[in-house]
């Protein structure tokens, strides 16, 4: 097995997903299939190959420090499940 049910539960918690028992089992099975498939890559010898973070050769894509118009607050809030007309509303959070 490439992944355990405990790891699936942990990843679910990090992603704020609530999974019940059968779901954990199903996800473990599916993720295991995916990971096993991807694990094929491990068979390639990468000794001496530089770590690749980007596949393109482009570097230094910059913009100049200029202010552009922002959205209207109504537009910014348009997709919010709840708002008070000025801000997004979320369940009370105390950090």
């Amino acid at each position: 097995m490439k992944i355990t049910p405990e790891e699936v539960e942990r990843v679910a918690a990090l992603a704020r997903l609530q999974l019940d028992g059968p779901e954990v089992e199903r996800m473990t099975r599916q993720l295991d299939t995916i990971l096993s498939y991807v694990a094929k890559l491990d068979e390639i010898d990468t000794q001496g190959v530089e770590v690749t973070t980007h596949t393109q050769q482009v570097v230094n894509a910059f913009r100049e420090d200029e202010v552009q118009p922002s959205l209207q607050p109504e537009q910014a809030l348009a997709n919010a499940p709840e708002d008070n007309g000025a801000s997004f509303s979320v369940p009370r959070i105390i950090r």
Partner: protein, 475 residues
């Protein structure tokens, strides 16, 4: 048992660019909620962040000013976590290849110099702001600050006392302000600091268990919070207990650190390179160009003030604590010439009213101060009167000449006029005159005081002394 304190600081400095790090929204502070957002900083699917060149410039400046090694190729990473102030579900930051590493900063505490290592400097975006509703179990999210450029500066755990940590923080603060890359406003959160603190028995190699301190929004609070936390940990350890690794918030009202409410989760940020942003390549040409434009930094300026202007270390340190103050000093000096006297006057009279960073708001301009001090030099007014005139200048913003003239404060240096008064005072105070002749020279103060009273402080003090000496010694 004796403990050694180990402190490392993480500083977040907001860059004073006009626009955000990855989009063109304004970074202006205090705008109505959610008026500075766009699809990029709201984290809308399909939007593409593009890096603000000015942020890279600022990072290069700070790297050069802290003797850091610039990574010629550096990349952005996603730091994944869920919180309502972070619309994308990840913060764009730098992880494996930050823009700069291995820097250092020199601090001085009670005359002892020490070099503090800087682990890394990296570019990242700020998160939004949460306002907790007073009544409802609701938090309001304002995303104006989302995407404001930050430089995070992480120190090595080289600091051994809250005083050293504060000195480091002040030095870093002075540097970002000298470089003009951050406004340094701690109240508004544009210069923030988290501290990692632990204690270990003296002589022990490995670090003790640390706590992380947050929410210290002034130099004073930083020092108080760290001192409190050191005492707290020491008490725990002396009682045979164990320090719990946790994040603590400083409560300035109660002057204590508090555990954050709610359960803390183990952090697992699952960093990975951000595919939306291409690598940043900083070549030697770019570094040289930025280096050529660097201003004189506080350490260098302080040394110059000592070596070339003859100031003592203490005055030089104070006068270079902000770029504006040092500029003010040098402008006034160009007209007045006596660095020591100018430094003294600024250190006492000016800095009592205006902090080193508020000097630009001071109505008395450098040239006016220089002219005031020149009036002492050429005996137009006494040093004491100068303080009164200065207070008036601060109050009304008028020129010193105008105040001196309008209030008739010109020093009395007419020998004949003063001599007459001196004789009258001696005649009226025969007892004290005899005491003086008997060797009780302290009564000189009394006599000069009498003359000052009669002249409303305008008598030339040197001349007054001379005349009394003369008259008292020749009966």
């Amino acid at each position: 048992m004796d403990f050694e304190i180990v402190i490392g600081l993480e500083v977040h400095a907001q860059m004073n660019t006009k626009s955000k790090i990855f989009c063109g929204c304004s970074t202006e502070f205090g705008a109505p909620p959610n008026t500075h957002t766009c699809p990029v900083c709201l984290g809308m699917p399909g939007s593409l962040p593009v890096l603000n060149r000015q942020v890279v410039e600022a990072a290069i400046k700070l790297a050069l000013a802290t003797d850091s090694t610039i990574n010629q190729e550096n990349i952005f990473a996603r730091k994944n976590y869920f919180y309502p102030d972070l619309p994308k579900g990840y913060q764009i930051s730098q992880f494996e290849l930050p823009i700069a590493e291995h820097g250092k900063l020199e601090i001085e505490v009670e005359g002892t110099k020490k070099t503090i290592g800087i682990t890394r400097i990296h570019m990242e975006e700020d998160a939004g702001k949460l306002v907790h509703d007073e009544l409802e179990p609701v938090s309001h999210v304002d995303l104006n600050r989302t995407g404001t450029p930050l430089l995070e500066i992480v120190s090595e755990p080289d600091l051994r006392s809250p005083a050293e940590a504060t000195a480091y923080l002040k030095k870093l603060h002075a540097i970002v302000r000298y470089l003009d890359i951050c406004d340094g406003n701690m109240q508004e959160g544009s210069f923030r600091c988290d501290a990692n603190i632990s204690l270990r028995p003296v002589g022990q190699e490995e670090f003790g268990i640390r706590t992380e301190l947050k929410n210290m929004n002034s130099f004073k609070n930083v020092q108080l919070a760290m001192e409190y936390e050191v005492r707290r940990q020491r008490d725990v350890l002396l009682d045979g207990g164990r320090v719990i690794q946790q994040t603590l918030l400083w409560n300035p009202d109660k002057a204590q650190t508090e555990t954050m409410r709610g359960k803390e989760e183990a952090h697992d940020y699952r960093y990975f390179p951000d595919p939306d942003l291409v690598p940043v390549v900083v070549d030697q040409d770019w570094i040289s160009t930025v280096a050529a434009g660097l201003p004189e930094l506080p350490d260098h300026r302080r040394r110059r003030f000592c070596e070339e202007l003859g100031l003592n270390d203490y005055d030089a340190e104070i006068l270079t604590s902000s770029r504006e103050l040092a500029d003010y000093f040098e402008l006034a000096l160009a007209e007045y010439g006596n660095a020591k006297k100018l430094g003294n006057f600024m250190g006492t009279e000016l800095l009592r009213e205006y902090g080193a960073e508020e000097i630009e708001a001071c109505p008395v301009r450098p040239s006016q101060l220089a002219r005031l001090l020149k009036m002492i030099e050429d005996n137009t007014i006494s040093g004491k009167i100068a303080k009164t005139v200065f207070a008036e200048m601060l109050d009304k913003g008028q020129d010193p000449e105008v105040i001196v003239k309008e209030k008739g404060l010109v020093q009395m240096s007419d020998e004949g006029e003063l001599q007459a008064m001196v004789r009258e005072i001696i005649a009226a105070n025969q007892e004290q005159a005899q005491q003086f002749r008997d060797g009780k020279t302290k009564v000189m103060g009394f006599f000069v005081g009498q003359l000052m009273q009669r002249t409303k402080g305008k008598a030339n003090p040197k001349l007054a002394n001379k005349l009394f000496q003369q008259e008292l010694n020749t009966p």
